[in-house]
């Protein structure tokens, strides 16, 4: 592949979106692979575009997020409760390997992209995700809201990102369960630290808890979503306290 000089960070996101031809992919929200278009990074081809090209007219999708954790010994009760509350489906487990890439530009904050691949589902596309800064509206919004762009890609995503100038910052393995309720997605997973970089077999659990995430990806401006999330979170108390956790506070 031709070596691509890393573009300037400021205009980067728009450039990247143009290249990648974003079709928002509801990742892991129920097998709607029909609506997902995979961009082949090898041949740099995308299927013929029948709708308007993406030149900044994307719908701004926002991710609404609530997080909590549950200790290992209470996992079973949480799973039972979720099976009761959520949509009726076969319990879905997942084993994912996520790598976080940073692009350092001249500006202060590096550009972060998250690449995720499924380790137990053969043939599933890689998932590239951009998450913006959390919006500090701080009204009665009960959930953390941030801009979100999801893209499904082919397998040589990491090569592509390295050529673009990204460097991997950290990686981890996530193993757990997935539930859905309407547009809400609930993930209960354990984070494993990778001891030998690149080797996903040598892992160790980061803590004795499972992380519980309740998230919704919805177009911007639908704050009613956060009310629904809060109501759902109430149902999980006192097993888990799902709340809006600002990552900057934990730095």
């Amino acid at each position: 592949m031709r070596k691509i000089l890393s573009p300037r960070v400021r205009g980067y996101r728009q450039d990247f979106l143009k290249i990648a031809q974003v079709y928002p992919v509801p990742y892991l929200t129920g097998g709607s692979e029909s609506s997902c278009v995979v961009f082949n990074l090898d041949t740099m081809e995308a299927p013929p575009v029948t709708m308007m090209p993406v030149t900044g007219g994307t719908i701004n999708m926002m991710e609404y997020l609530l997080q909590g954790s549950v200790l290992d010994h209470s996992l079973e009760s949480l799973i039972h409760r979720l099976r009761g509350l959520c949509d009726n489906m076969e319990p879905e487990t997942f084993l994912d390997h996520e790598m976080v890439f940073l692009l350092k530009g001249q500006q202060a904050s590096p550009f972060v992209l998250r690449a995720r691949r499924s380790m137990d589902r053969a043939g599933a596309p890689w998932h590239l995700r951009y998450l913006g800064q959390p919006e500090m509206g701080d009204k009665n919004r009960h959930a953390l809201v941030r801009n979100c762009v999801d893209i499904a890609t082919s397998e040589n995503l990491t090569d592509f990102l390295m050529e673009m100038g990204f460097r991997m910052d950290h990686e981890f393995v996530a193993k757990g369960h997935l539930f859905r309720k309407g547009i809400m997605k609930i993930m209960v997973y354990k984070i494993f630290r990778i001891l030998v970089p690149g080797n996903t077999d040598s892992t160790e659990a980061l803590s004795l808890s499972y992380l519980v995430e309740l998230s919704v990806v919805a177009p911007a401006g639908q704050d009613v979503v956060s009310d629904d999330m809060k109501n759902f979170a109430e149902q999980l108390k006192p097993l888990v306290h799902l709340e809006k956790i600002d990552p900057k506070r934990l730095m």
């Binding site: 954790s69 980061l206 934990l250």
Partner: protein, 212 residues
């Protein structure tokens, strides 16, 4: 409190040695008496006398009291003191235990349920997912002085997450076999961090050359 003072005065005679005998009893209503007793004793008749003019306890009660006093005297002063002390000690212990139990039972009743999650773990996990805290291998964030740029193998210096940690660079895994080309780099304390990181870095950087 004058009543108590009068009663406890050393010159007041012991009431049980004396007998009060009414001189005049009448079944008529006495207004003066009513006023003086604030309406409590309307009639000074024979019914009132046993209650109000009594100086000694009932005969049975008097018997029991006499018995108790003889028993107490029989034990002897020292033994009595010891018994008093041990009783006091036991009472205070019991009180302590009860109050502690009461205090803890409110939170203790919830505690077995509450241990379904651990807030520290929550924060650790969220930090790990958000910016990789605890995932960048083997060295936790420590030194607060600016690090030195190492020799990058790839040619670009990476400023990773906040905290001056050593970041392991891995080559991108090729399709089937992950390769291990790790290059260890020290992280430079550059202004290439999040804004909050910038402030701390500037602070530590300005302290460093002048204080050493």
């Amino acid at each position: 409190n004058t009543l108590n003072k009068v009663l406890k005065h050393e010159k007041t005679p012991l009431f049980r040695n004396q007998v009060i005998i009414p001189l005049v009893l009448s079944p008529d209503r006495d207004e003066d008496l009513m006023r003086q007793t604030e309406g409590r004793v309307p009639v000074f008749s024979h019914e009132v006398v046993p209650d109000h003019l009594r100086t000694k306890p009932d005969p049975e009660v008097e018997e029991q009291e006499k018995q108790l006093t003889t028993d107490a005297a029989r034990i002897g002063a020292d033994a009595a003191q010891k018994q008093i002390q041990s009783l006091n000690k036991m009472c205070s212990n019991l009180l302590e235990k009860i109050s502690k139990e009461e205090r803890e039972s409110e939170s203790g009743g919830l505690r077995p349920n509450k241990q379904t999650f651990n807030p520290t773990d929550t924060n650790a996990l969220v930090a790990a997912v958000a910016f990789g805290k605890g995932l960048s291998n083997w060295r936790p964030s420590g030194s607060s002085g600016p690090g030195q740029p190492g020799q990058p193998g790839a040619g670009t210096i990476l400023a990773g997450t906040s905290g001056l940690q050593q970041v392991q660079m891995a080559g991108a895994p090729s399709q089937q076999q992950p390769m291990l080309s790790g290059v260890q780099m020290a992280q430079a304390g550059q202004p290439g961090k999040m804004p909050s990181g910038i402030k701390t870095n500037i602070k530590s950087a300005s302290m460093h050359p002048y204080q050493r």
